[in-house]
Amino acid sequence: MNVKSIHAVNPLATLALVAGLSAWFATAGVAQSVGGQAYGAYVNTPTASLGQSPLAVLPAISGTDGDIAYAEADASGVPGTLSSEFLNSTTSGALGTAEAGAQSTATAAAINILNGLITADGLVANAVSSRTASGAASNANGSTFDNLVVAGVPVTAGDAPVDPNTNITLPGVGYVVLNEQIPTGDGVTSSGMTVNMIHVFEQSPILGLLGQIIGYQTVGEIIVGSATSSVGP
């Protein structure tokens, strides 16, 4: 009976049905990939270097098992450039039938950048991405600084957030971006977020033929508290 029923179906109609269902699943389905990483500190300047540490990277995920990675360090830094303590990095993610998601968290305490130019008692970087049938989204909720001071000026009192992508000039050094948020994806089938809580750009002047300053170029970077999450098709 079943065989007869199949042969009775118009092949063109079958193709149209398959194509339609494929398009519906592509729109309504959840993500097929998730990604995440978190690290406490990173330095790359002309005088100092420190790889991303402690670094946690979410392993590749298939099926619906989910996974987690974490890394920790009692201290991390480069003398004269960065010191920090109690660093913890965690990232987790899963592919579900109704939802796919990844979330990453990086924390650090007792932060001192460039001999006191920037200090903080602590910080949390949080990045979250998820995709359901209604779309994909990311956020950096819960990302805060604890008693942040930049160039002698208090920025937060106690534990508090700072507006995303807050830019402060550091005379003689360059500038710092606080709560730097870098979104990715189309918001429908993919979404991602990188949040760098402290991102220092060391700059040097570009001189013209007459020795005048015609611009600036970035020659070094310092990042403290970085969390990334993503979901994709």
Binding site: D74, T91, L95, E99, Q103, G122, V128, N141
Partner: protein, 181 residues
């Protein structure tokens, strides 16, 4: 060690032929006592406040697989209490945690409750064990709104209420997400 006793009782109850609804659970967890095969993953931050005995900034991440016999077959849990600089870590493989105990779980609705033994480190001290309870609820998407919630997380050290230990209470997420999958 009431926490270890609770873990032992739950493990014993889950592995016999007693229907899941008859399992004994500590009263503070509440909810139905069920243990269908399940997987929960999550991470983020909560900020519990007094009178919860563990309060202040807490970050966490976890991935839990529960089997039909109420035993956590594999999983990892990482919790950090920042005011006391205390780290908790639970690592479960083949139904056994790092201390030879059997971690157990129950599911009620969109929440999972896990009992296990964590290794714990305060500041730069030595690692040592504590029995713990974890409860995570997937209450909607996204798990954390610009305010807090709707997802919730709870962490309780079963045998110690001193600074860096204690109970966060069931607290809405300040950031992050919890996923039942």
């Amino acid at each position: 060690m009431p926490g270890l006793l609770a873990v032992a009782l739950i493990a014993a109850g889950c592995q016999d032929s007693t229907p899941p609804t008859a399992l004994k659970r500590p009263s503070f967890w509440g909810g139905e006592n069920q243990c269908p095969e399940t997987k929960f993953t999550g991470g983020g931050r909560i900020d519990p406040t007094p009178p919860n005995s563990m309060f202040g900034k807490v970050t966490f991440g976890f991935n839990i697989h529960g089997a039909t016999n109420c035993v956590v077959s594999k999983g990892e849990i990482q919790v950090v209490h920042h005011p006391s600089q205390t780290k908790y870590h639970v690592s479960i493989h083949d139904g056994t945690d790092g201390f030879g105990n059997t971690p157990t779980f129950s599911v009620d609705g969109t929440c999972i409750t896990v009992f296990a033994t964590a290794r714990v480190k305060h500041v730069n001290g030595d690692w040592h064990p504590h029995p713990i309870g974890m409860r995570a609820c997937d209450n909607g998407e996204p798990g954390s709104s610009p305010g807090t919630g709707p997802d919730t997380f709870r962490w309780k050290v079963m045998d110690d209420d001193s600074f860096g230990h204690g109970d966060t209470g069931e607290t809405p997420l300040t950031g992050g997400n919890i996923q039942q999958h």
